[in-house]
Every structure is written in structure tokens, then in C-alpha cells.
């Protein structure tokens, strides 16, 4: 636990406005000069079911969810199907209250809507005992009553914000500004009244607590957005103007953002019959000269396997995004997991020739999506951006200047008509699209685009000769296979030469290491800071390049530590397996800390996991798994 931070959790039913309220709360705190980070937890249903969002706010930069939280606004589930009875899934209306007991810190504030949650029911769930034990300040308020007085019941969330502001002594100025910006007319007036009334009512209660909301200020203009925004904006800025997709959680977010904005940028979005078609359309658009993408989540991505292989074989550039959720099969659709790594690396028949990036945060979502397009079009290869439900939905502020970059619409290794006239042609008249040894000495044979004069060739998923015709000649086979696979070495060299996608954290000379990939990076970095404060000697490496794997960088780093713990959200240590396969060693140096219960790591869990691993003790927490290094 760290001091001087607010972690405000709002809990209610799906449909109670939990998401939008938390977004507003986070934005208002950002405006007030704080750094914010959100963590969402929601069920796979539209109405009802316990959902919560945490907003963590600090003076210094914040890159992870915290350990538990210190303020709960429990609205109750107004969409509960079985509000009074003991239902199959427990007492639904009350879930957004009692399911949050575990993580509320000692001395925390618990504000709940007694307008919805009956006093007698609340007695039954043991709130009084829990509050006494943990020294919580319980504040029942009739938020529903306040909301109904000025408008509609749905404004309970605005009442909750007003009450929160009063209890925490936060100015309502920023909230008023938001309401004024987002609403108009009667709605605006009603919400402002609800905000003020709830503020007044809560002020009178004079709640005595120890939470201090930090104060801060920003040096430059900030923006607050999600990983899905950053991936979409990276794609648009790198000249992507075509997307095809089929809805699936959590990928839908990127698809929605792109579909809403592409027409304004002169692009095209296609919602199609299935994910096979989605990937195939992106290929068709790219073949015809347009920078294109598609994407999905686990099950939908499985359907893209064959088009993905076709992209590799025909060397058609394409960017696919894969938003992981907990599997196998339908799994837990709204819960994060990092268990599709092997799926995206190896799916589709034959030896794979693809690039896979795993951005760790919103900043990297933008830059690595841009890299993905650059690499895909320059090297004529499919590039996959793999991320998860956590990054997809979490909001974080960062300087607006991060996005102040020039666009790049360069279609990569494509010839112009004039260049085609001078390029190699087969005696049949066909353009030599797939030269064994491209003229510039690289492994990329530049392509033509349909409609260009004298550029015609055949693209085929069969093995093919330089003009694209089907060929099973052994020498041709070896030449084409080698050239396609050698592109991966070229890409590795290119990435090493340009900005590294890997992120280093902690003291260089540290004794121990923690290796992490994707969305858990920020949490690991926070844990590393705490471990060093606790007297340990630890550093961390966040890896984003899953393929081609950054062998040199990771080897060098692993050589510098005695042991390393690999932290990932899956049950079979997929990234650790990949690391050992790629590096051919370190089996006795790498142990794993795994979590796959549907919730991302908290920093304290990594601290505990690390400490028990070096002490050789059993892991105390049952929600994680420890896999020792070989020989241990």
C-alpha cells in the first residue's frame, strides 16, 4: 500500500452508468492536476450484474491499479433480476456492496445508496461487523431520493459524485464544468441540482476520516484515453484507411472507434459476416493498394488463421489486432488474460512468418501500432498487435504532445507505374513480383497493385515462382521459403536499429530480475520500486517484441541477474516458454508467477510473489500460482 493516493471505487449494476461516471470522475481529477489510472471490472451482460471501476489518483505518475482501494461508492444494482430473493448468483441487488468488502482498506470510507438498498438487507450481509473490524466509515445516503427530487433515478451517480466530493473535500468546480460540457437544457440543470444537493447533504454529515486527496499540477496539457483509442489513433496516423471486422469483446472497442472516425478521414469500415471474411477483406484491400487492418479476440482470431497464412504466403501486408480475454473457448468474455500468445504466434499451417508486438500501455499502443503498419508495409508481412481486455478499457492520462507526430501514409514496398516499366518481367509478360533475389539485395521483392500498367502477376497461397505461378520445384521452394523467413532477421535488425520496444526499469546492477510482457508491465514496475524500497535488489524488463524475439536484449539482461521471475496472466507460463525456446537456455534461471482468475495483478501481489520465490516459501495467496525454475 502506498500513502498519499486516492483509489475511489464506484460499484453498481451494468447499466447504472458506472463507466461514464468513472470516466468523468477521472477526467475531473486530471483537470485538477492529478495523474489518474482506471481499472474496470464488469460482467458479460448488458443490464444488471456487479460492475465496478476504480479510479486511482496520485500526484506522481501512476501506471497500475493499486492494492485495494480507500473509498467505495456503492450504488447497488438497480437492474437486479432477483432483488429480494436469494438468487442463484447470490443477492444481486446488494452485490455491488458486499462483493467489495474484501479490498476496501482499513480506515476507508463506504458510501452506499440507502435509497435503493434496504436497511434490513444491509444488516444481513454483515456490514456492521466488517466495518467495525476494519475501522471503515460507513455513510448511508438516500442518493436515489436526491436524484428523483430533481430529475430521474438514473442521476443517482451524479448524486454519488456530489457526496464523494463533499466527503473528500474536493471542489465541485470540475464536475460542474463536465456537466455543462456534456449536457444541455433540463438534463444539465437537473444534474447540477442533484450534484449540489448531494454535496450539501453529505457536508452536513461531517464524516471523519483520514483519507487525504493529494494535490498536483501538470507541466503540460494532458489527455485521458484508453488503449483502444491509442491503437486506433496509431493506425490512422500511419495511414490506415480500411478496417473490416465482426463484433467481439473486447476487440469491439477498436472496431467501433475506427468505424466512427474512418469516414471523416476518407476511409472505409466494413462490418462483415464473420472473422474469416474480416481478415480476407483486409487482405483484399491491401492487395489493391490500401493500408488495411482487421482484428478480433480469441475465438474470432481463430477464424482468421487461414487468411493470416495466406497473407504470409502471398506477402500481402496486413495488420491484425488481437484483444485477449480469458479463455479457453468463450471463457470469461469481459475478463483480462494473457493466454493467447501461443495462439497468435503459431496459428495457421506451415512455418509462420509474422511479426507480433505486445504493447504494455496506452503510450505503447500508439507507437507500436504505428510500428506495426510501417513494418507490415515495408516488409510485406502480417503484423499482429496483441493486447488484452485490461489495456483495452483502462484510462490513463498522458501528455497530449505524445500524439503530436507527423502522419505517415507511405504504402511501403510498392512500385509506381514508371518503376514497373523498368522492373523485371517474365517472358510471358508477367511482372516478377516474387524475385528470389530482389535487386536491392534485401529479402523484400517490391509489389505492384492491380490497375497499374504491366504490373500483373498472380498472388497465390500455393508455393510459387517469381511471377507468382504455382511451382513445386525444390530449388524454387527453398529460395522462396528462405527469402520469406529471412525477412524476420531483417525486421529484427531494423527494430534494433530504431527505437527499442523493450522497457527497462530499476537499478542496472540489481541482483534479481522480473520479466514481464504486455499489460502487466506498469504493475510490475510499481512492485519493483517497492521491492527496492524494502531493501531488495531488483530490476524489471518489459518485453513487447514477441516475434521476432529480441534475443540479444533479453539475453544480455538475463545474464546480468542471478534469477528472474516471469510475471504473466495465464496458467501455463507461455511467455516464459517462448523465452526459453528463443534463447535455448535459462530454464534453471526463470521461475513464474501466474494469475488467471480474471483479475489483473495488484502490485502487492507481485511483491509477495517475488519475496516468497526468493525465500523459497509457499505462496500465501491462493489466487496465484508459482512455477519454480527447472531443477528447483
Amino acid at each position: 500500500m502506498t500513502d498519499n493516493e486516492l483509489i475511489w471505487r464506484i460499484a453498481g449494476g451494468s447499466g447504472d452508468g458506472i463507466d461514464s461516471t468513472s470516466q468523468n470522475f477521472a477526467k475531473a481529477l486530471m483537470w485538477s492536476g492529478l495523474n489518474v489510472f482506471t481499472h474496470r471490472h464488469y460482467p458479460s451482460r448488458i443490464r444488471g450484474g456487479h460492475t465496478y471501476v476504480e479510479v486511482r489518483a496520485k500526484d506522481e505518475p501512476v501506471q497500475s491499479r493499486g492494492d485495494g482501494y480507500n473509498f467505495l461508492l456503492a450504488l447497488g444494482d438497480s437492474f437486479a433480476r432477483n432483488p429480494q430473493e436469494e438468487a442463484y448468483y447470490g443477492k444481486e441487488e446488494l452485490k455491488p456492496l458486499y462483493e467489495n468488502f474484501d479490498d476496501l482498506r482499513e480506515g476507508g470510507v463506504l458510501l452506499y445508496d440507502e435509497g435503493l438498498l434496504d436497511e434490513e438487507d444491509v444488516d444481513e450481509i454483515g456490514l456492521e461487523e466488517a466495518a467495525e473490524e476494519n475501522n471503515w466509515h460507513v455513510v448511508p445516503m438516500d442518493l436515489r431520493g436526491i436524484a428523483k427530487e430533481h430529475g430521474r433515478e438514473i442521476m443517482r451517480n451524479t448524486a454519488g459524485i456530489g457526496a464523494t466530493a463533499a466527503i473528500l473535500d474536493i471542489s465541485t468546480d470540475e464536475f460542474e464544468k463536465l456537466i455543462t460540457q456534456n449536457m444541455s437544457g433540463d438534463m444539465q440543470e437537473a444534474n447540477l441540482n442533484v450534484l449540489h444537493d448531494a454535496y450539501e447533504a453529505a457536508s452536513e454529515l461531517d464524516v471523519d476520516h483520514d483519507i487525504e486527496v493529494p494535490e498536483g499540477s501538470h507541466d503540460e496539457e494532458q489527455v485521458i484515453l484508453s488503449g483502444s483509442n491509442a491503437i486506433s489513433y496509431g493506425a490512422i496516423d500511419e495511414g490506415c484507411r480500411f478496417i473490416s471486422g465482426y463484433p467481439m469483446t473486447p476487440w469491439t472497442d477498436v472496431f467501433t472507434i475506427m468505424s466512427q472516425h474512418l469516414p471523416e478521414f476518407g476511409g472505409i469500415s466494413e462490418q462483415v459476416e464473420d472473422e474469416i471474411a474480416a481478415a480476407a477483406l483486409a487482405l483484399g484491400a491491401s492487395h489493391a493498394g490500401v493500408k488495411a487492418m482487421s482484428g478480433s479476440s480469441g475465438g474470432g482470431f481463430a477464424l482468421m488463421s487461414e487468411p493470416l497464412g495466406l497473407a504470409e504466403m502471398t506477402e500481402t501486408p496486413i495488420v491484425l489486432v488481437e484483444a485477449m480475454r480469458a479463455g479457453p473457448s468463450t471463457g470469461m468474455p469481459t475478463k483480462p488474460e494473457q493466454a493467447d500468445l501461443e495462439h497468435v504466434l503459431y496459428t495457421s499451417q506451415g512455418d509462420s512468418a509474422r511479426v507480433v508486438f505486445a504493447p504494455a500501455n496506452i503510450r505503447e499502443c500508439y507507437t507500436q501500432t504505428r510500428s506495426a503498419f510501417r513494418i507490415a508495409y515495408e516488409y510485406q508481412i502480417p503484423v499482429i498487435v496483441i493486447y488484452d481486455q485490461k489495456i483495452q478499457g483502462e484510462l490513463r492520462n498522458l501528455p497530449a504532445s505524445h500524439f503530436d507526430e507527423e502522419p505517415n501514409a507511405d504504402p511501403g514496398s510498392v512500385l509506381t507505374e514508371e518503376e514497373i516499366q523498368d522492373a523485371a518481367h517474365h517472358s510471358s509478360g508477367k511482372f516478377q513480383r516474387f524475385l528470389h533475389e530482389p535487386e536491392d539485395g534485401s529479402n523484400v521483392s517490391p509489389r505492384s497493385v492491380p490497375g497499374q500498367k504491366d504490373g500483373r502477376f498472380l498472388a497465390t497461397g500455393n508455393e510459387h515462382n517469381p511471377s507468382g505461378h504455382i511451382s513445386e520445384d525444390p530449388e524454387n521452394r527453398i529460395a522462396q521459403m528462405n527469402r520469406r523467413l529471412n525477412k524476420l532477421d531483417d525486421i529484427r535488425a531494423d527494430l534494433d536499429e530504431n527505437t527499442s520496444h523493450q522497457t527497462y526499469h530499476g537499478p542496472d546492477e540489481a541482483e534479481y530480475g522480473i520479466l514481464v510482457w504486455g499489460s502487466q508491465q506498469g504493475t510490475v514496475f510499481e512492485a519493483v520500486d517497492r521491492l527496492n524500497e524494502n531493501g531488495h535488489s531488483v530490476k524489471a524488463l518489459g518485453v513487447s517484441d514477441m516475434a521476432p524475439y529480441p534475443k540479444e536484449e533479453v539475453s544480455e539482461w538475463l545474464e546480468s541477474v542471478d534469477e528472474a521471475l516471469v510475471v504473466e496472466m495465464n496458467a501455463t507460463a507461455q511467455f516464459r516458454g517462448l523465452t526459453q525456446k528463443e534463447l535455448g537456455k535459462y530454464g534453471d534461471k526463470l521461475s513464474s508467477l501466474l494469475k488467471y482468475n480474471g483479475n489483473p495483478f495488484e502490485p502487492a501481489e507481485i511483491v509477495d510473489g517475488f519475496e516468497s520465490s526468493i525465500d523459497g516459501e509457499e505462496l500465501a495467496a491462493s489466487n496465484m500460482k508459482y512455477l519454480p525454475a527447472a531443477g528447483d
Binding site: 472505409i268 498472380l458 498472388a459
Partner: protein, 312 residues
């Protein structure tokens, strides 16, 4: 100026231009109906005035998928059943291309059936030729979606218990705006129908009967055939949905009774193509998207100026 000077080039087109300079030896068996499609397609090209560099031919997998090995144009030999989604995106990316897709009955009515329905529904301005030989040829003679009920093969040793798919009726219901059946043994009609299909502004579906002398000897080369437009027996209005539906039902049923009916089955000229619909609602640029990437003066807006305000 266009980056694609082959498109709409004003000149006479010779059918020989569509024969590759060095013709690969065909993988098709002697007497195969696929030769008929290739020939008719080449013959149609001078009629519609298209040159090899502005035609993009997308094929699936199977004997039919080899079509673009022997047809000199831009070609994309995709994967089994997926020629249509690849093809229609190319059309959206560059509407000035002449896009043709082709595949077999297994490809279009079996594994790719979903795409066949949805591409027709969307009415993309393209031509789709289904080589219908009522059999899986390249995998050596298994029962296909159009094989007659009771058809015996190594995978259906007791005879198929399934009724065949009704490709024409299905396309009518799905939304295709030009639907015809022709046969490899009727090259003149085939050429005319292909030319009409290419000129049609919308999704044109051609169910092309292609005899398989190796694996489907029962089909008897689809002779004799009747052109329904030239027969006195069939007097129907090709633009009337209900009459077309009745004609298609007869055509589908009689094929399995040994009577081969061919010709135009349905033509709807009023319905706008998908590209027109999308441009109408502002979801597709007026200029072909593909041109922009080759235009040095094109303006590429960035999200920093357009989308970031909302996040501040």
C-alpha cells in the same frame, strides 16, 4: 492524374491478350468444362473493352481455382471458399478495377456459402462465376453441395441423404441482381452472359455448368440444353421476382431430371450497387481510396488535430 493508367485505357482489346505469353500446361483433364469457362471469359473481354491490367480475377481452391493461372490479368488465387471477401474489398479499395471472382460449387455453395450470401446481399458491383460440376473434382470425386440426392461416392457410400442446394433461388433470396445459368457446352451463350454480367452494375452471379468427365460421368456433359430465353415453353419476365423464382425452381429441379435449362434467370437494374450506397451515406470516398496512396499531393490528416480535443 490516375496512378493506374491501365484503367479505362481507350483502345481495341484482343482476346489473345488474355492468353499468357507462355501458357502453363493446364491441370484440367481433357474434356473438362473448365476450358469452356476460360474460353468464354477471354471472348467476353474484347466485348466489354477491358484490358488485362485493369482486370483482377480472384479465385478459390479446386480445379476452378486454377483459372487465373491460364488467364492473363492480375490474379489472386485465395483460399478455399474465400475469393469473395478478398475480391469485394479490392473493389471497395479501387472501384475502377474490373473485379471478377470464380470458384467451384464446393467453394461457393459449401465452404464459402456464407460469403456468397452476404456478398450478394450487399450487391457489390462484381461478377461471380461458379463452376458447377456437381462434384468435388480435385479431391477425386466426393459428393458436393450440388450433387443430386442419392449420389454415391467414396464419402457417401450409401448415397447422399441430402437434397442438393438450390443455387439460383438462394442467390435471388440473398439479393444478387443478375442471376444466370450457362453451360460450358454452350460457348456463345456463356460469352454473352459473362459480358452482360460484367457490364451489370451490381452483383452478378453465374452458375456455370462445367462437366467433369473424370469424376462425374453421370452428368452427361449437360447436353442437350435449352436456352429459356429462346424457348417457347418458358415465357417469363426476367425482371419479375416472383416469375424469376418460379423459373429458377423449375431450372433447379429439372437438372436432376436430366433436362438442362440455361439462360438469364433474374435481372434487376434499379438497385444501386454497394459502393453507390456507401458513397451515398458518406461512408466511402468519391475518389478511389487506392489512388490516394500514390498521390504525392494527397493530404493525410492526423488524429492530433482531429480527435484529441475530446480527450482533453
Amino acid at each position: 492524374m490516375s496512378a493506374f493508367s491501365a484503367i479505362n485505357e481507350e483502345r481495341e482489346i484482343e482476346r489473345d491478350e488474355f492468353t499468357p505469353g507462355i501458357e502453363p500446361q493446364a491441370t484440367w483433364c481433357p474434356g473438362c468444362g473448365d476450358f469452356g469457362v476460360l474460353k468464354a471469359l477471354k471472348q467476353a473481354m474484347p466485348e466489354v473493352g477491358k484490358n488485362p491490367d485493369e482486370v483482377a480475377l480472384f479465385t478459390g481452391i479446386g480445379c476452378s481455382g486454377k483459372l487465373n493461372s491460364y488467364f492473363n490479368s492480375y490474379g489472386f488465387h485465395t483460399i478455399h471458399g474465400r475469393s469473395l471477401p478478398v475480391a469485394r474489398a479490392a473493389k471497395l479499395a479501387n472501384p475502377n478495377l474490373e473485379v471478377i471472382a470464380a470458384g467451384g460449387d464446393g467453394d461457393g455453395y459449401g465452404i464459402g456459402g456464407n460469403h456468397t450470401i452476404h456478398t450478394a446481399r450487399e450487391n457489390h458491383d462484381m461478377t461471380y462465376i461458379v463452376f458447377n460440376n456437381e462434384i468435388f473434382g480435385l479431391t477425386k470425386g466426393q459428393t458436393s453441395p450440388t450433387s443430386p440426392k442419392g449420389h454415391k461416392s467414396k464419402t457417401q457410400p450409401h448415397g447422399s441423404a441430402k437434397s442438393p442446394i438450390r443455387p439460383l433461388s438462394q442467390q435471388l433470396n440473398a439479393g444478387a441482381t443478375y442471376i444466370a445459368r450457362t453451360a460450358a457446352v454452350n460457348p456463345n451463350q456463356a460469352k454473352e452472359i459473362i459480358a452482360e454480367a460484367i457490364e451489370h452494375d451490381g452483383f452478378a452471379h453465374i452458375d456455370f455448368l462445367t462437366q467433369c468427365p473424370t469424376w462425374n460421368k453421370d452428368a452427361k456433359h449437360y447436353v442437350p440444353y435449352t436456352d429459356v430465353q429462346q424457348s417457347d415453353e418458358f415465357d417469363f419476365d426476367v425482371s419479375d421476382r416472383a416469375e424469376a423464382a418460379e423459373m429458377m425452381r423449375k431450372t433447379e429441379e429439372r437438372l436432376y431430371e436430366g433436362e438442362v435449362l440455361t439462360g438469364r434467370m433474374y435481372i434487376e437494374d434499379e438497385r444501386p450497387s454497394y459502393g453507390e450506397e456507401k458513397r451515398q451515406i458518406g461512408e466511402m470516398p468519391e475518389e478511389p481510396l487506392a489512388e490516394r496512396y500514390f498521390d504525392e499531393d494527397a493530404e493525410w490528416e492526423r488524429t492530433y488535430d482531429n480527435l484529441l480535443e475530446h480527450h482533453k
